[in-house]
């Protein structure tokens, strides 16, 4: 089992976890993590924050029992990773924006390494974090918002590709804004559904889409914004 290299708190309830090893993840994919034996029952899906030659990083918010256990991990502790899983972001074309709300900024750090000229929109509810790190990765703009609505600062008509990740309500608003703006951009949402198997077998993370139901874990977590039917 791989070991934790560091697990630093970078804001209230927000941690940056590094795990040793060599990883071949694409941007927007995720891993199922567990740092315990039988309890809690399920592993936790976390999207890839960063990949380096001999370690991988995750950014997570303490939201329940599992992430609370993660937050107590120390360097040298063992953790199990299953992945990379999910479809990830398709290769971006043209002018690109990454729009993250809260812990939804997590997948865009690694994505910026692949699209280093993209603009980044980071929305926080109470305090901003990692803004300088994002700035260091892009030749584009980094726009932040604390306590407001980050989406209001994005002009959908300025871009060819827009990737978004954040709370359910934000992603619903993304879909609305896509329709209202009449943008020709390809707009994507990355969903954070609760999962069990993580590989497409159990159907508990099902997403209602216009054509049919899809699996957040195996067909997603990244979907075209217009295809999702928010329930």
């Amino acid at each position: 089992m791989p070991a934790v290299i560091y697990n630093e708190q970078i804001a209230e309830g927000v941690y940056r976890l590094a795990v040793e090893g060599s990883y071949a993840a694409r941007m927007g994919q995720f891993y199922m993590l567990r740092a315990w034996d039988m309890y809690p029952l399920l592993s936790r899906p976390l999207s890839v924050f960063n990949v380096e030659d001999n370690y991988i990083e995750f950014l997570y918010l303490v939201a329940g029992e599992g992430t609370a256990i993660f937050s107590k991990l120390q360097a040298g502790d063992e953790i199990m990773l299953e992945g990379p899983l999910g479809n990830g972001f398709s290769k971006s074309a043209g002018r690109t924006a990454f729009v993250g709300g809260g812990i939804g900024i997590a997948p865009f750090y690694y994505a910026l390494k692949q699209v280093p000229e993209a603009d980044v929109y980071l929305g926080f509810s109470r305090e901003a974090y990692l803004v300088d790190e994002f700035k260091a990765l892009t030749s584009g703009e980094v726009i932040t918002n604390v306590g407001g609505i980050i989406l209001n600062q994005v002009d959908f008509n300025q871009y060819d590709t827009i990737y978004t990740c954040g709370p359910h309500k934000m992603l619903e608003a993304v879909q609305q804004k896509q329709a209202d703006s009449g943008t020709a951009a390809d707009v994507y949402v990355s969903l954070e559904n609760r999962m069990a198997c993580g590989i497409g077998a159990c159907l508990v993370c099902s997403v209602k889409c216009k054509e049919k139901r899809k699996k957040a874990c195996a067909d997603g977590p990244v979907f075209r914004a217009e295809e999702v039917v928010f329930e």
Binding site: M32, L41, S43, M195, I199, C202, L203, V204, E231
Partner: protein
């Protein structure tokens, strides 16, 4: 040489580890993690005659040592299974069980008939893909029918009798722990000509969001599985094993080699593993290896030596 195999109704399970319906898809996903042919068997995702979308809203909620699910039998329908999945199943060397559910008696019968016709055609061309039918009369997440059939013995009798008349395939009846009288239900299955019984399906259960003041599930109740239910499931399997002669497939929270041995000592012919697949993605292989290791360690040459000793 140790012997882990068991043969029922002419179908051989090379070991007692069978993957439970609804947790394993049709095997494709887990098949990328290990060789499915190492397993004793697989019970595919529960099918209904027509494709089913399943339940809306939240479908999973974790509980202490367990989980609630409210999938609601989302599945592609019998015909799509026969066309799209069976070609892969044809090549598998393990006991292949198709799990069939339904909302109405007519749907059950029509679904079983399609499976039967396909099985006969495949038999004739020497390409069988399904070895047994597991009749699900016990899904707690489907409002019409489903569980209703699994609660009252006399209601269940009708569907078991009708399906028995439709199919020549070995027939397993999957029982609900929510049945009014589990032992009478099992005895009825035996009387009506079932070849085996599997139990338990999930326990009907509930979770309330106290801030929203509503159930977290749109369907109100959901099915509880995982280690939390194992001791109750074990007792139920033991009771049913004492009551019937036909083989029993035991399940309910099995998450270790020790759990498997307990169910076999309680009388189970083979066991099924469900929720543990989510804890350990290589559950199947680990448990198959674990049983062999336990037998070597304990000097057990055949599981018959310990089956039903309690």
């Amino acid at each position: 040489m140790i012997n882990t195999s068991y043969t029922m109704a002419g179908v051989t399970f090379k070991n007692p580890v069978v993957m439970a319906s609804g947790t394993f898809g049709f095997g494709k996903e887990y098949g990328t993690y290990y060789d499915l042919n190492r397993l004793g068997g697989i019970s595919g995702k529960g099918l209904t005659l027509h494709p089913k979308e399943g339940n809306s809203g939240l479908r999973v909620y974790e509980t202490p040592s367990g989980m609630l699910n409210s999938v609601g039998l989302e599945n592609p329908g019998v015909a799509a299974f026969l066309q799209e999945e069976c070609p892969r199943w044809e090549a598998l060397d393990l006991a292949r069980i198709v799990n069939l559910g339904g909302n109405t008696l007519q749907d059950y019968i029509e679904g079983a008939r399609l499976i039967e016709e396909d099985a006969i055609a495949r038999q004739q061309s020497g390409r069988p893909a399904v070895d047994m039918i597991e009749l699900n009369i016990s899904c707690p997440n489907v409002k019409a029918g489903g569980m209703a059939y699994g609660i009252k013995t006399e209601v269940a009798r009708e569907v078991v009798r009708e399906i028995r008349a439709v199919t020549t395939l070995p027939l397993i009846i999957k029982l609900s722990p929510n049945a009014e009288d589990l032992v009478s239900m099992a005895e009825m299955c035996e009387t009506e000509g079932a070849d085996a019984i599997s139990l338990v399906n999930t326990f009907s259960a509930m979770k309330i969001d106290i801030y929203k003041r509503r159930s977290v599930f749109n369907n109100l109740y959901a099915g509880l599985s995982g280690p939390a239910i194992k001791p109750i499931a074990l007792r139920m399997v033991h009771q049913v094993c004492k009551a019937v002669e036909i083989p029993v497939m035991g399940m309910g929270g099995i998450s270790s080699t020790e759990d498997i041995i307990e169910f076999i000592m309680a009388g189970a012919a083979v066991i099924q593993v469900g929720t543990y697949n989510f804890i350990n993605i290589r559950a199947g292989i680990d448990l198959v290896d674990g049983v062999e290791c336990f037998m070597r360690d304990q000097g057990i040459r055949s599981l018959d030596e310990i089956r039903g000793i309690l």
